[in-house]
């Protein structure tokens, strides 16, 4: 693992919103996140940082420019392929927990692992329990996802994002919906993931405290990265 290769690289990303009026949200964004790097993106509301994150996450494919994930150009790849890349190489944490309420906490964490199909169900379960233990929520594993507190949900979501050992963790306002105590826990967890697991993290946030603990702060303004 050398720090030399970018895990994800964006070149000249341009994005228009067509509805309700034509607006250019991203005006040529260049961005690199290196292997093991913990970066945050900050900027005012409406500067396009979330939009950029969803393009980087491969979920939004309606843009021009070039996107590289792990050295592979993925702009214009078929959706099936992008789904597999998301499953294997990218972990997500959103502002709202986004667990599936019908499933148990453990099952929620296991789902992406089972989808990948690399390990047996038993192995995925063991690994999910390990991640829950790391996040300090293993005692809730058998509960239904809608029966635990907000802070716990976010930690479960982080465990789920890590289940397939992704190259990069992408987070959209991960502390935006949490109280200060839970925010602090999440900040610690991210720092540990970066330091101990040498995983890349890209966090979009308004939270100065969270940003201050990252390796690099990328500032965006009016659809551009501020140099």
């Amino acid at each position: 693992m050398s720090n030399g290769d970018p895990v994800i690289e964006a070149r000249g990303i341009i994005k228009w919103f067509r509805d309700p009026v034509d607006t250019q949200v991203l005006k040529g964004v260049d961005l690199k996140v290196m292997r093991g790097e913990y970066a945050s993106v900050m900027g005012k509301s409406g500067c396009g940082k979330s939009t950029l994150l969803y393009i980087l996450s491969t979920m939004d494919t309606d843009y021009t420019g070039d996107l590289f994930l792990d050295g592979e150009r993925i702009t214009g790849s078929p959706h099936e392929h992008l789904s597999r890349l998301r499953n294997e190489k990218i972990g997500f944490v959103f502002q709202f927990h986004y667990l599936i309420p019908e499933f148990t906490v453990l099952r929620n964490v296991m789902l992406p692992g089972l989808k990948r199909g690399l390990l047996t169900e038993h192995e995925v379960e063991e690994r999910a329990m390990d991640h829950l233990r790391t996040m300090g929520v293993d005692h809730q594993a058998r509960k239904r996802a809608n029966q635990i507190s907000g802070g716990e949900k976010q930690r479960v979501a982080i465990a789920r994002a890590l289940i397939n050992e992704p190259l990069i963790l992408m987070c959209d306002e991960p502390t935006g919906n949490l109280d200060s105590r839970n925010s602090a826990i999440v900040e610690d967890l991210f720092r540990r993931i970066a330091d101990e697991q040498r995983r890349s993290l890209l966090v979009v946030t308004h939270d100065d405290e969270l940003a201050a603990r990252t390796d690099r702060i990328i500032t965006m303004d009016d659809g551009r990265v501020v140099p």
């Binding site: 998301r86 986004y98 599936i100 089972l114 199909g117």
Partner: protein, 425 residues
């Protein structure tokens, strides 16, 4: 692994909406059940009504119709004059009537032998029918006597379905026994064990013993007809063993009857009538009845299909968040589609199984409702056709309907854009 995972996700989503899912499955079950019960009942009735006519008619009947000569001598004279251009002055006789030759099929025993060797023939029942008079007190009642081979007659024409008070074997084993039409017996006020006097047209008198009754439900027939064995009838009429008025033939394939009848008429120089010519109108009636039962069932299944469509659509709306998260974590559009089609198919399969049970129970229930039918004295309950075909069609249709009903919502779900859902919060 992949498909089992998707199935388990479907099952979990379904369990969370158990009540709605059960309602949808019940809808499917009711429509399948009704289809099975209705089809069985309709076709049971159809079979009964068709059988009333078709079972009493041989596939082919070979007989010798008494009629005037086709070419009358006067006609022949005119043809000759036209052909030769000369005036023929020989006297010709016109209006020649049939002569008193018997109405029997010529060479009947040889014909029967030939028919037995024909591979297309399933069975043969020879018959003698003649006019007789029944002596009831001082008056004479007009009647018709039918000499039959009871066992063959039963095999070919379900004779025992119309018998009351005795079996075909009783008739077969009796040399002076007679089975009287129910109406005829009532008119003469005779019961089983009584003796009746029969006179033939030639004036000979016989005493026969009543051993049972025949009821076809057609009054005109029941009021004049009686049955004896073939030999008894030949003895009554003082005719030899070869004297047979009708040779009734059953074919292995009913649809071949018209062609085979034409062939027999040529080959045996006799008249041959096929069942299709004799009963053309009945095909139409039963066709319309089955059409009605199909339309009713299809409507029921369509309603169930709309129910499933509705519930799935609602479920997708409620589950937009879950769909978005599945997609964000690497499930493809195809996976999501499979999940929702699975949902629909689980409802369909459970509904179909319940529908089979319901339909079976309904059919058995209808089969036990008392039903008296004059034309068929042996029938005591409503007729139901328990043909497994209806169960198969019902299940197949249920699965196809639920699949289609699930397809559109599933496609919608697969196209959900996760970014829109996640950003929309």
């Amino acid at each position: 692994m992949g498909d089992r995972l998707l199935l388990s996700i479907s099952a979990t989503l379904l369990r969370a909406r158990l009540r709605q899912s059960v309602v949808a499955a019940v809808g499917v079950a009711i429509s399948i059940g009704m289809y099975i019960a209705l089809s069985g009942f309709m076709n049971g009735l159809n079979g009964l009504l068709d059988g009333l006519i078709l079972n009493r008619t041989a596939h082919i009947r070979i007989y010798n119709e008494i009629r005037p000569a086709e070419r009358q001598p006067l006609e022949i004279k005119q043809l000759l004059e036209r052909a030769t251009g000369r005036d023929l002055t020989h006297p010709f006789i016109s209006r020649i009537k049939p002569k008193g030759e018997p109405a029997a099929v010529r060479n009947a025993l040889a014909i029967i032998d030939a028919l037995r060797k024909d591979p297309r023939v399933d069975g043969i029942a020879p018959k003698v029918s003649a006019q007789v008079f029944f002596n009831a007190g001082t008056i004479e009642v007009n009647g018709a006597i039918q000499g039959i081979e009871p066992l063959e007659e039963d095999r070919l024409l379900h004779f025992s379905d119309y018998l009351l008070g005795c079996t075909v074997a009783d008739l077969a084993g009796s040399s002076n026994g007679v089975v009287l039409g129910k109406g005829l017996a009532d008119n003469m006020r005779v019961g089983i064990g009584d003796a009746v006097q029969v006179s033939t047209i030639t004036g000979d008198r016989f005493t026969l013993k009543v051993i049972g009754f025949y009821q076809s439900g057609m009054a005109d027939f029941d009021n004049i007809t009686c049955f004896v064995t073939l030999t008894t009838a030949q003895n009554l009429l003082a005719q030899p063993r070869s004297w047979i008025t009708d040779v009734q033939v059953r074919l292995k394939d009913l649809d071949m009857a018209p062609a085979v009848a034409r062939e027999y008429a040529r080959r045996f120089d006799a008249d041959a009538q096929d069942i299709q010519t004799a009963n053309a109108q009945f095909e139409t009636g039963s066709g319309v009845r089955s059409l009605i039962s199909y339309v009713v069932s299809v409507v029921l299944l369509l309603v169930a299909g709309f129910g499933i469509y509705n519930i799935l659509n609602m479920m997708i709306y409620e589950k937009l968040d879950s769909i978005a998260i599945l997609k964000a974590t690497g499930f493809s559009g195809r996976d999501v589609r499979v999940i929702f089609i699975n949902l629909s198919m689980i409802i369909g399969v459970f509904g179909a199984i319940a529908g089979l049970l319901l339909g079976g129970l309904l059919a058995i229930g209808i089969d036990h409702i008392p039903f008296r039918f004059d034309a068929l004295p042996t029938i005591t309950t409503y007729p139901v056709d328990h043909n497994p075909r209806y169960y198969l069609i019902g299940v197949a249709f249920a699965l196809v309907t639920t699949f289609i009903a699930g397809l559109f919502p599933a496609r919608k779900a697969s196209r959900v854009d996760p970014v829109e859902i996640i950003r929309g919060k």
